[in-house]
């Protein structure tokens, strides 16, 4: 089980701020595919991902208990 935080447009598209999903020991890339299947209306392309509050690469592994955040292009300031 992992926790996924969603923000900005992605949060609105999916209609939730937070998801709990059964996923572990797969790459970020695989997680994106998993979510694409679950939410075919949403696009996860070109969105950065953080694992436990650190930016991650598509090849990084997600483990049970991790907190994942999908980070669309930022616009602070």
């Amino acid at each position: 089980m992992i926790k996924i935080y969603l923000f900005a447009q992605l949060q609105e598209d999916i209609g939730q701020k937070e998801l709990q999903v059964e996923f572990s020991n797969g790459t970020i890339k695989e997680l994106k595919q998993f979510l694409k299947n679950a939410y075919p209306q949403s696009s996860f392309d070109g969105i950065m991902v953080a694992i436990n509050e650190e930016y991650a690469f598509d090849t990084d592994i997600v483990r049970a208990g991790d907190t994942i955040a999908f980070i669309p292009p930022v616009s602070g300031g």
Binding site: A8, I47, E53, E54, P73, S75, G76, G77
Partner: protein, 154 residues
Amino acid sequence: MFTIVQEPIRVEELIQKVESPNAGAITTFIGTVREWTKGKRTVYLEYDAYIPMAEKMLQKIGIEIQEKWPDTVIAISHRIGHLNISDIAVCIAVSSPHRKAAYEANEYAIERIKQMVPIWKKEHWENGEMWIGDQLEKTPYPTEKPPLDGDRND
């Protein structure tokens, strides 16, 4: 020193945070909500952030600045929630023995914020709304240098 806040930002507080007997200069950058952008009238803005990570990333910017401009002291506050025209969205204060470093470090900080801190702005116009995402290059941190995008929303 590095906070995401919900309430109005008080510039004086940030200045106090960086005051030091070693300082001969303090620069403040105040980012405010602009009414007109490319012919469109903003009614208000809404900011959201991934707060724990945003604060962590602001701290990272602080570390980068310490490495590049060793004698500086820096404080950053970014506000989230509903902001009206002219409200302060972000304030960056940098103190330094000499002014050049205070100017340079301050500008560096806002460029880095716009590049990699997980904060989002939603425009509310008279006839619509949109989450703004303005990064052309989405490279995971760390990068060597902030890219100088041609299409920045600042």
